[in-house]
C-alpha cells in the first residue's frame, strides 16, 4: 500500500529545513522499499513543531515534530509511516493537539490540511462556496452581508469593511472602472498571517477578491505583495493561473456573465507602502508618497477611480461570511470586535505560531497558555502588540482583553494581531530608539513631523542613553512625541510615538539608569 505523508511547505517550515526533510523521506523510503507519497501541505502554524511531518491514517493525521534531518532513519525504524506513535517525536493526532484544538479557525480552516496549489483540495473544503452564493446575490445583498458580519479592517485601522464597500458601490466611476486592491504589504514585525493566507491558501484570497468585485462592481483587482515574500508571490501567481484555467477569473466567471481580472504586483521594500494611499501611488508606478485624505480612496483611489483597499485578512474572511452566513461570523467576538482575529505569537516565545481566536481573550492567555512563556526561559518583561507602531505593554496590562476598543483605551493598538514578546534582557530605551530609527528609514518624507521628528528623536534618545541632561531630554522627547502624534499626515509619523511613549512611561528605569552613572563620572 501507499503511505501518504505530508511535509509543510511555507516559508517558516522551509527555513527550518522542510524541503530537505521531504526529499530525504523519499530517498530513505526508496532505500527501504516502502511505498510513500510525499505531499506538500501548507503549515498548521504550530511553528515550534516545524518541520511537522504528518502521516495519513484512517483515524486522522498523526504528527511527528520537530523533525530534523538526523531523525529520518529512526522514524523509518519506528515505522512512523503506519502512524506508529512509538517515537520520541510523535505528537499524536495533529487535530487533537490542544494548541490547535482550542482555536477557532474560521479563516484558517484549511491551513496545513490542503496542498496550497490544489484547486481540488480547496473545493473539497468549502472552497468557492461563498462565491457560488455571491453570484446569485445582488451587489447590495453582498455588501449587506459583510456589514452584518461586523467585519472590520484587519490591517489595523479596524474600519468597518461593509461601509467601505458601500461607499465604493454607491459612488459613480468617471471612467466606468472600479478597483479592488488587496494590501499584502505585511511589513509589521511579528505578523505573518497574510503570508500564511497567500502561501498556504491562496484560492481563499482570490475568492474573497472576486466577491468584493461583485459587491462593488469592480472588474480589476490587484494584490500588492511585498518583495520580502517571494514564495507568497509565486504561489499567488500559480493559483491565479489555475483560477483563470478553470473560469473562476476572467470575463465570464462560471458562466455568470460577471467579470473580474486579478494581478499580483510586487512592492519594493518600502514599509510605508502598507499605508493605503502610499500603496496606491506605488501601484501607479510612483514614489510611495502618502496622499492627504480626503478624498478617500473609496471615492478617488487607484488611477483616480473608486477603489476598495482591504487587507489580506479582511478579504480572506469574506468567503466564510458568504458561505456560512454573516451571523455565524458575527456571533463570536467581544464588544464591537466581531468574528475572529488570527493572532500571531512571536518574538521570544516558546510555542510561537498562528492562533486564530474570537476576539476577547487576554494577552496573558495568548502569551502563556498558548505561547508557553519565553523561549529563553527568562521572565517575560515587555510585549509589543500591533507591529512597530504599536505600544509596548508592561505586565500590569497583560490582562487587557484582545479587542479594538479595549486596546485603544490603553493607548495601545491591536493592529494586525502581531504579538512580540521580550524577556528581561531587553533594554527598553534601545527599543524606543529603534522605533525612531525605523521611522527615519521608512518615512516617505512628505511631512516634517515624521521626516525630521524621527531623526531628532534618535538624537534625543541617544543623549538620554548617554546620561546627558536626562530630565530635560526626557521632557523634550515627550514634546517631540506629541508633535509627531498631532502633526503627521499618516499613521507612520502619527503612531511611531506609541512604542516610544509606552516605553518611557512603563519602563522609565531603562531611560534614567545612565543618568546616575554620568553624574557620578562627572563627580569623579
Amino acid at each position: 500500500m501507499t503511505f501518504r505523508i505530508h511535509v509543510p511547505s511555507d516559508t517558516t517550515a522551509k527555513a527550518r529545513g522542510a524541503d530537505r526533510i521531504a526529499r530525504l523521506i523519499e530517498i530513505v523510503a526508496e532505500e527501504h522499499k516502502i511505498d510513500v507519497e510525499v505531499r506538500r501541505n501548507g503549515t498548521r502554524g504550530l511553528y515550534w513543531l516545524e518541520t511537522l511531518v504528518e502521516v495519513e491514517t484512517d483515524e486522522g493525521r498523526y504528527g511527528f515534530g520537530p523533525v530534523k534531518e538526523g531523525d529520518i532513519e529512526s522514524l523509518f525504524a519506528a515505522e512512523f509511516y503506519n502512524g506508529n506513535i512509538e517515537h520520541s517525536l510523535a505528537v499524536g493526532l495533529v487535530e487533537e493537539i490542544p494548541y490547535l484544538k482550542r482555536q477557532e479557525r474560521f479563516t484558517f480552516s484549511r491551513l496545513g490540511i490542503n496542498d496550497p496549489l490544489s484547486l481540488e483540495d480547496y473545493q473539497a473544503k468549502d472552497g468557492f462556496k461563498g462565491l457560488a452564493n455571491a453570484i446569485k446575490l445582488s451587489s447590495q445583498d453582498i455588501v449587506d452581508a459583510v456589514k452584518e458580519s461586523g467585519l472590520r479592517g484587519r490591517g489595523g485601522a479596524a474600519f468597518p469593511t461593509g461601509i467601505k464597500w458601500q461607499t465604493v458601490l454607491d459612488v459613480p466611476s468617471p471612467k466606468n472602472q472600479k478597483y479592488i486592491v488587496c494590501n499584502a504589504d505585511e511589513g509589521d514585525s511579528g505578523t505573518f498571517a497574510d503570508r500564511l493566507v497567500m502561501e498556504c491558501d491562496p484560492f481563499m484570497l482570490i475568492e474573497g477578491m472576486i466577491i468584493a468585485g461583485l459587491a462593488v462592481g469592480a472588474t480589476q483587482g490587484y494584490i500588492y505583495c511585498r518583495s520580502e515574500y517571494p514564495l507568497a508571490i509565486e504561489n499567488l501567481n500559480s493559483a491565479i493561473q489555475t483560477a483563470y484555467d478553470h473560469n473562476l477569473l476572467g470575463a465570464d466567471i462560471q458562466g455568470s456573465g460577471k467579470h473580474f481580472d486579478l494581478e499580483v504586483r510586487m512592492g519594493a521594500g518600502a514599509y510605508i507602502c502598507g499605508e493605503e494611499t502610499s500603496l496606491l501611488e506605488s501601484l501607479e508606478g510612483k514614489r510611495g508618497l502618502v496622499r492627504a485624505k480626503p478624498p478617500l480612496p473609496a471615492i478617488v483611489g487607484l488611477f483616480g477611480q473608486p477603489t476598495v483597499v482591504n487587507n489580506v485578512l479582511s478579504l480572506a474572511a469574506v468567503p466564510f461570511i458568504l458561505d456560512k452566513g454573516a451571523k455565524a461570523y458575527a456571533d463570536v467576538g467581544v464588544g464591537r470586535s466581531r468574528g475572529t482575529l488570527p493572532f500571531q505569537v512571536a518574538g521570544n516565545v516558546k510555542f510561537g505560531g498562528l492562533v486564530e481566536l474570537a476576539f476577547g481573550p487576554t494577552l496573558k492567555e495568548l502569551m502563556f497558555e498558548f505561547g508557553g512563556g519565553t523561549r529563553s526561559g527568562r521572565p517575560l518583561r515587555a510585549v509589543q502588540v500591533g507591529g512597530p507602531l504599536g505600544a509596548y505593554l508592561p505586565e500590569s496590562q497583560w490582562d487587557t482583553p484582545l479587542g479594538y476598543e479595549e486596546f485603544s483605551q490603553k493607548q495601545a493598538v491591536l493592529g494586525h494581531g502581531g504579538i512580540v514578546m521580550f524577556d528581561d534582557t531587553v533594554d527598553m530605551s534601545e527599543q524606543a530608539r529603534f522605533s525612531m530609527e525605523f521611522c527615519v528609514a521608512e518615512s516617505c518624507g512628505k511631512c516634517t513631523p515624521c521626516r525630521i521628528g524621527s531623526t531628532r528623536g534618535v538624537e534625543v534618545i541617544d543623549r538620554i542613553r548617554a546620561g546627558k541632561n536626562v530630565d530635560a531630554n526626557m521632557e523634550l522627547l515627550s514634546d517631540l512625541c506629541e508633535t509627531m502624534l498631532d502633526g503627521s499626515l499618516c499613521a507612520m509619523g502619527g503612531m511611531t510615538p506609541f512604542p516610544v511613549q509606552s516605553a518611557m512611561q512603563h519602563f522609565t528605569e531603562d531611560f534614567v539608569k545612565n543618568a546616575a552613572s554620568a553624574t557620578q563620572a562627572k563627580e569623579v
Partner: protein, 166 residues
C-alpha cells in the same frame, strides 16, 4: 532573486523587457523589477531607456528607484545576504547576530565584501517571526540563525557548490 544568475548589461534585452511591460497600467515598478532581476541592478543606461519608453523624465525614474530600498543602482556581490532587523528578531538576539555578521564579513550594511562575493543588507521583517533571528540568502529564508549557523551559511556561499541530490 539570486544575483549569481544575473547577466551582463545588454540594451536590446532591456528594451525587450520594457516593451513587454510598458502597456500595463502603472508599469514602472514591474519594469524596474524585471530589469533588476535580469541584470542584478538597475544601470544608469536603463534609466534613459525606461524614461523614453514611458515618456517620463529621467529624474522621475531616478526618483522612483531611489525611493524604494529594494532597487539598487550598483552591481551587488554574487550573493545577497539580508539580516532581519525588526523587533521579533531583536527579541531573539538579532542585534548580536548583526554585529557578528558585520565583523565576520568585514563590511557594514549596504556594502559588498572585498572579494565581491557577498552584499550585506538589512531587511525589516521576513515574516518568520516565531523562529528568529531570520536571514535571507537570495530567495531562501533561514530560521534560528545564530553566529555559528551564520558562519556555516556564509562558508557555503564561498565556493560554487556542486549540486548534490539533496
Amino acid at each position: 532573486m539570486t544575483t549569481s544568475k544575473a547577466v551582463a548589461w545588454e540594451p536590446v534585452t532591456a528594451q525587450a523587457l520594457i516593451d513587454d511591460l510598458k502597456s500595463k497600467p502603472g508599469a514602472l515598478l514591474p519594469i524596474l523589477h524585471a530589469i533588476q532581476d535580469r541584470f542584478s541592478f538597475i544601470p544608469e543606461e536603463a534609466v534613459a531607456l525606461i524614461a523614453q519608453s514611458l515618456t517620463l523624465s529621467r529624474a522621475e525614474v531616478h526618483g522612483v528607484i531611489s525611493f524604494y530600498h529594494h532597487f539598487r543602482t550598483q552591481q551587488p556581490g554574487r550573493h545577497m545576504v539580508e539580516i532581519c532587523r525588526a523587533e521579533a528578531c531583536q527579541a531573539q538576539g538579532s542585534r548580536a547576530l548583526e554585529a557578528h555578521a558585520k565583523a565576520a564579513l568585514g563590511v557594514d550594511y549596504h556594502q559588498t565584501t572585498a572579494d565581491r562575493n557577498i552584499t550585506l543588507e538589512p531587511v525589516y521583517c521576513l515574516g518568520n517571526c516565531s523562529c528568529g533571528p531570520s536571514i535571507r540568502v537570495g530567495d531562501e529564508i533561514h530560521a534560528d540563525v545564530d553566529a555559528t549557523r551564520f558562519d556555516e551559511l556564509v562558508e557555503g556561499l564561498k565556493t560554487d557548490r556542486v549540486e548534490i541530490l539533496l
